[in-house]
């Protein structure tokens, strides 16, 4: 059963010209447990797509929205974000801006407390969520005094403690250093593979995406211009990187310029490249 079903979705923000659109007729289906990466240049509509899935557009950020969207059996524009929150967890690009509580424990507890879940369940869920993101033992720390990567994992734990089906991450690593990025990706992959969560992530780090994602969606000016597995999409982008504003993994570029060395299949990850390389 598909978890997210979007048909012909068009979004226009307040103050946009008539033919200027943040999203322009986007259609896609995402299956339960799929890992989907959204790629595209700044302004291509990545954030709008993410925020439409968790209902922030149009519930909090006013916009004209046309088409059909169904997420975990709900229609996001029709219900308050806070009700969708138990189905869709969200993580945003600036980890520090999402923090408000005095300790890591309270930060993770916030959503569950808001839902009025009983104390025992809260403690169990928090412990599980912190375990999952590798922040066990950080309960009494201040969320503002941990590293960016830890903050972003904390934001993930805060979403996970509410046991969502889907996790939407809007450029979660754009403000992090390589170690922080690595931490966030490792955790994201873990919750996708071990917990079976559907993951939708907007990202610029193509090397990691190539390794982790089941499906890549490439956005260009609010439209989906390519979709498929990394193995299908990246080789097609080698010559148009500049036009679509998306880089391809270095090994993909190398292999497509030296095809003789790789036979028919163009690698997208380091291990594929090493394996496929003919000395």
């Amino acid at each position: 059963m598909s978890d997210i079903k979007i048909q012909n979705l068009t979004v226009q923000y307040l103050g946009m010209d008539e033919n200027e659109k943040a999203l322009d007729g986007v259609s896609l289906e995402i299956e339960q447990g799929e890992f989907v990466a959204i790629l595209g240049a700044h302004g291509a509509g990545k954030t709008t797509l993410c925020l439409s899935i968790n209902g922030i557009v149009p519930n909090m950020i006013a916009a004209d929205m046309y088409g059909n969207i169904e997420v975990a059996g709900q229609v996001p524009p029709k219900i308050p974000v806070r009700e969708l929150a138990t189905k869709v967890g969200s993580v945003f690009d600036n980890p520090e801006f999402q923090m408000s509580q005095l300790t890591v424990f309270e930060e993770v507890a916030l959503g569950l407390q808001n839902l009025g879940v009983d104390k025992e369940t809260i403690e169990k869920n928090i412990s599980g969520a912190l375990e999952m993101v590798g922040l066990k033992g950080f309960e009494e720390r201040s969320p503002f005094e941990i590293s960016g990567g830890q903050q972003q994992r904390l934001a993930m734990a805060s979403a996970l403690s509410m046991k969502p089906e889907i996790l939407v991450l809007d450029e979660p690593t754009s403000n992090l250093d390589p170690i922080g990025k690595e931490e966030v990706f490792t955790v994201t992959r873990k919750i996708n593979q071990e917990e079976g969560l559907t993951v939708v992530i907007a990202e610029h780090e193509v090397e990691v995406i190539a390794e982790f994602a089941d499906t890549i969606i490439l956005l260009e000016e609010g439209k989906i211009s390519k979709a498929g597995t990394p193995q299908e999409v990246f080789p097609e982008l080698v010559d148009i990187q500049r036009d679509v504003g998306v880089r391809v993994p270095q090994v993909t570029e190398f292999a497509s310029k030296a095809p003789k060395k790789f036979g028919n299949s163009i690698p997208v990850t380091l291990s594929e490249a090493i394996e496929g390389y003919k000395k």
Binding site: Y13, L14, P58, D64, Y66, G67, N68, P77
Partner: protein, 230 residues
Amino acid sequence: MNEQVDSQKLSSATGGGVPLTYVIALVPVASVLNVIGGTVASALKLPIFLDMIGTAVVAMTLGPWWGALVGVITNLTLGFVTGPVSIPFAACNVVGALVWGYGTRWGWANDKVRFFGLSVASAVFVSLMAAPIVIFVFGGATGHSSDILTAGILASGADMWAAVFSSNIIVSAADKILSSFLALAIIGALPTNLQVTGPIMAQEDMGKAVLITAGTVVGVILTVVSMTLL
């Protein structure tokens, strides 16, 4: 799925008020801006407070009583951080919020001249509130450089009340005029659906920076003039 259902309109950009969570995030950040204003003033060695900018922003957008809440939270929080002496001054913050909030509701933020009047009014009311607190709680002192002014006025033979009120209003006038115009600059950058108290003049037409500079100049002139007059 057929074409008709495909083009179904799900939402409209014109509807919707202020999301509750936006208010809940704005109030603490405004309270922190009050505190940071003070930090900035002391770091740049300015002879003013700048500690009510957040109050002004919220009072003028969400309404007088939300502004008052920002004021109370600011001073209460400062009380937790530095000790309870800042708590009584919450009253000044509340008074300022009410003047800005109701002033905006009554149309005093619609043009430059009246807005300037509103800033002066808030300065006067805030000083009227501050003087008794300073005298009863602190015996006339504030620990601020304006104490020197108070001592000067006392030396010229005035009594404690006159001295405290005059030294306070001088600093306050410059301070509130500047704060009002800075608050206007912030409001210009907030989402427009926040303005529930009444229409506020459009900042784009006037050029924020020009306005603020004008506010600063007038404030400083007022300070200098009143100092020489006294």
